[in-house]
Structure formats: structure tokens, C-alpha cells
């Protein structure tokens, strides 16, 4: 059990800046994100796109913004828990017990939900029959590639993950690559390589096909693919891999007994607390009259939520307002002389 002042769910721009504000006022926090990296939408969806409406930063990319936010909180040495999803929140006396998918547990008086539009999860096959093989022979990411050795592997998708894995696995497995159209969005060099491998019959390439059915008794045996015209084909497969990118899913957040308005959490605008004491929501996931889904709004919300957390983390102290330019306490926290 990790004890802390605040657990932040989501390491997008809002969660990262809220961590900064917590550090400034002298609170500790732990940050959990389902992605394998910090930065939320900015890093996952548009790392190279320029943003023009960050106050006092005329232009920066999603990646630059993320890197600067990370740099800004470095002095506080907070812990990040990546590749992990917050699954459960339960109440214990005046604390919350936060449990993640990997089994980590935190005890904290404050939880700040900065979950954006939800956690990034791989998009799955639409076919019902794929569900019963999910995690065993139907996979959306690869942890151990040795399991595919000398097996038949059907790979779906047209982006870099699908192409790169098709090329790599074709060395030691029988690979079929299936994509819904003729064009691929992966790197041109990989597309060229795939076409070569297909010409040499090292990879079976099926374009303009999508999945229809997944078959097998207990173990996966074959899959059926269909063209838009309705023609279908059967392919032998021991494993099926789907690379359709990531989607944002509200997921477990919907089960925590919070008031929800569509996919957002209503909050008060004084400290961004939800209907549950000690649970705050900031950034894209919160809603209130006039809410704008902008990074700059998330920063403001994080600053106020941090002060809200202070009250429960230090019930016997009074929060004292200070400027970073003037306060020696804050400069100490930032590791400055």
C-alpha cells in the first residue's frame, strides 16, 4: 500500500500541471496512466502538430508541451505508474483506496481524475466470436514474440504496427496480412517491403478484406474474412493480431458512483470536487457551465483542485497563498537556492 496526499489519474497535460501545483503547495502525489508514456492526447494523438493557444507560448507541438510540463515537475520527484489503469476506488474512513489493474494499491485522502475522454485502449475486433479468444490467441499487442514461432499468424491493420509486425514475424511464422483497403498508412519503406514479401509469397496479403468470423473449439483454428461484395475466404490461423489504433474509453471511471453527464463528470467550479468528497475531476473529463475543452482551462482547473486537496491532506493546517517569485518555501520545494 502506497500512502500519499493525492493520486492523479491520467498524465495528460492537465494531470501533469496539477502535479506541479501540488508540488508547489507542498503536497505529494502519485500519477497513474494507462499509456506507456506521459502526455495524454498531446503525445498520443498529435505529438508533431503545433498548438497556438497556450498562454505565453506562441507555438509548440504536443510533444514539446509535454516535455516542458515534465521538466517543470521534475524537482518534485513524483512517481509515475505507467501502463497501468486505475480500476477501483473504495472508501475507507476519510481515505480512498485506489486499486490498479496490475494490483497496485494507494491510500489517499484525495483523488484527482484527469482522465481526458477516458483511457487509451486498443480498438478490438467487432466480431463477437473474437471475444472468447481475447488475450489468448486474439491479441492487440505483443509482449512475447517467441510464441508465434512456426505458427500461422493473421495480422489485421494498415498502419505501422501491423506492417512492422508482419515483416518481423514473417521471418519465423506464416503471416497473413489483411487490410480493409489497398492503401496503407504505414511508412512507405514498410509498405514497399510488404509488397516485396507478398510477391515472394512469404506473406499472404489480402487487401479489401475485413474479419467475419473467428473459429475453433477451445483453441483458435481458422478465421473467415470477407470482402465488401460479400465474398469470403477462410485462412488457417493459430493467432490473430489486430492493430486498429487506440480509442478512448471511459472504462472503469463510469463505475465509481460519480455523477455523469454523457461521458463527463460534473464538478463545482470552486475546487473542482465531484459529488464525492475528496474526488476531484479536471481537464476534458469534467464539465460545468461554460466548460471549454482546452489545455489552458485544464491548467486552471488543476491549480484550484490542488488547493482543494490541501484541505483534506493537511486538515490541521491553513493553506497559505504565496507567489513562486517571492516565496522562499516554494523555492526550496523547487530545489532552488
Amino acid at each position: 500500500m502506497i500512502k500519499t496526499d493525492v493520486v492523479i489519474i491520467g498524465a495528460g497535460p492537465t494531470g501533469l500541471f496539477c502535479a506541479h501545483q501540488l508540488g508547489i503547495i507542498g503536497l505529494k502525489c502519485e500519477i497513474v496512466d494507462n499509456l506507456d508514456k506521459l502526455g495524454g492526447q498531446c503525445i498520443e494523438l498529435y505529438p508533431d502538430k503545433p498548438i497556438y493557444d497556450i498562454p505565453a507560448v506562441p507555438e509548440c507541438t504536443g510533444e514539446e508541451l509535454t516535455n516542458n510540463l515534465i521538466k517543470q515537475i521534475k524537482p518534485f520527484k513524483f512517481n509515475f505508474h505507467l501502463n497501468d489503469r486505475v480500476q477501483e476506488l473504495t472508501n475507507k474512513d476519510d481515505n480512498w483506496i485506489v486499486t490498479t489493474t496490475s494490483g497496485k494499491k494507494f491510500q489517499t485522502p484525495n483523488v484527482v481524475i484527469a482522465g481526458g475522454v477516458g483511457s487509451f485502449e486498443p480498438r478490438k475486433f467487432p466480431t463477437k466470436s473474437a471475444e472468447k479468444f481475447d488475450g489468448t490467441s486474439v491479441l492487440y499487442s505483443i509482449k512475447d514474440k517467441t510464441i508465434f514461432k512456426d505458427k500461422s499468424v493473421a495480422i489485421f491493420g494498415g498502419g505501422d504496427s501491423a506492417l512492422d509486425w508482419a515483416i518481423e514475424l514473417s521471418n519465423s511464422s506464416k503471416v497473413s496480412l489483411i487490410h480493409r483497403r489497398d492503401e496503407f498508412r504505414g511508412a512507405p519503406a514498410s509498405v514497399k517491403k510488404i509488397k516485396e514479401l507478398s510477391k515472394k509469397s512469404i506473406i499472404n496479403l489480402f487487401t479489401k478484406y475485413s474479419i467475419k468470423d473467428v473459429k475453433g473449439n477451445g483453441t483458435l483454428e481458422e478465421i473467415e474474412i470477407k470482402s465488401e461484395e460479400g465474398e469470403s475466404k477462410t485462412i488457417k490461423a493459430d493467432y490473430v493480431l489486430g492493430f486498429f489504433g487506440l480509442i478512448m474509453q471511459l472504462g472503469p471511471i463510469a463505475d465509481w458512483g460519480l455523477n455523469l453527464d454523457k461521458k463527463t463528470i460534473p464538478v463545482n467550479t470552486e475546487n473542482f470536487e465531484t459529488n464525492k468528497k475528496g474526488i476531484f475531476a479536471i481537464g476534458d473529463i469534467c464539465t460545468y457551465p461554460g466548460k471549454l475543452k482546452l489545455i489552458l482551462s485544464g491548467f486552471h482547473e488543476g491549480a484550484l483542485a490542488a488547493r482543494g486537496c490541501f484541505k483534506y491532506a493537511r486538515p490541521n493546517e491553513k493553506y497559505r497563498f504565496e507567489f513562486t517569485t517571492a516565496s522562499s518555501t516554494i523555492k526550496n520545494r523547487l530545489g532552488l537556492k
Binding site: 492526447q41 494523438l45 498529435y46 475522454v117 477516458g118 480498438r123 467487432p126 491493420g157 494498415g158 498502419g159 487490410h179 480493409r180 483497403r181 492503401e183 498508412r185 475485413s210 465488401e228 486498429f244 489504433g245 480509442i247 478512448m248 474509453q249 461521458k263 475543452k293
Partner: protein, 120 residues
């Protein structure tokens, strides 16, 4: 066309009627202002079936719709990147579009779009 009550001149009310058809067949006929996207038309009128998680920035594919053949060819062509994003949609086909990329104009009067079974 509406007549202006003060100067009695005719001016164009820049709207187009768009028909949104849910997967279960339920239809919603709404007037959408020119310049908005077909996605925004749905969201502003609380029409279910279009999630638009990324708010129209072409990065979520949860505003996916099917457009009937005759209309599909009449719509302005897809921009770079739309097909890449559609690869990640739920059950895309050759009549799929991202509704956040279809801008409403007079030419779209009478457009029908069909929602997929689900968006995620």
C-alpha cells in the same frame, strides 16, 4: 428562402436539411447551419450515435457514418488522413466518412447519413 420582415427583401437562410438515421432505423431530420460539420449538426441536436470524442480534430473515428452511394460521390472528396483514421473506425466500408470532415453547405440539402451499430 425567407423574407426579411423589415426590408421585405429576400435573403437566404443558410441551412441545409440533414437526415441522420440511427442503426435501429430511427430518423432525425434537422436543419444544420452552413459552415458547421455534419458531426456538429448531430451533437448540437443531441442525436445519439455520433460520439465525436476528439471534438472534430480527426483523431478518434467515433463520428463515423455511412453515406449512400448517390450522395457519397457528390460530397467533397476526403482529405488526406481521413481514410487512415477510418481504418480505425468500427466496421468501415467504402461508403464510410467521418462526419466531422463533411462541411454543411446548400449543396448538402437532403443528405442522409447512416450511423454504424456503434462507434467504439
Amino acid at each position: 428562402m425567407i423574407t426579411c420582415p423589415i426590408f421585405f427583401c429576400a435573403y437566404i437562410k443558410a441551412m441545409a436539411k440533414i437526415r441522420y438515421i440511427e442503426h435501429n432505423g430511427k430518423e432525425h431530420l434537422v436543419e444544420v447551419q452552413n459552415g458547421l460539420t455534419v458531426m456538429e449538426g448531430a451533437v448540437q441536436n443531441d442525436i445519439p450515435g455520433i460520439d465525436a470524442d476528439c471534438g472534430g480534430s480527426m483523431s478518434c473515428a467515433t463520428c463515423h457514418v455511412y453515406v449512400k452511394e448517390d450522395w457519397y460521390d457528390k460530397l467533397p472528396k476526403k482529405d488526406m488522413g481521413e481514410d487512415d483514421m477510418l481504418d480505425q473506425a468500427y466496421e468501415p466500408n467504402s461508403k464510410s466518412r467521418l462526419s466531422c470532415q463533411i462541411m454543411v453547405s446548400d449543396d448538402l440539402e437532403g443528405l442522409s447519413v447512416y450511423m454504424p451499430e456503434k462507434q467504439v
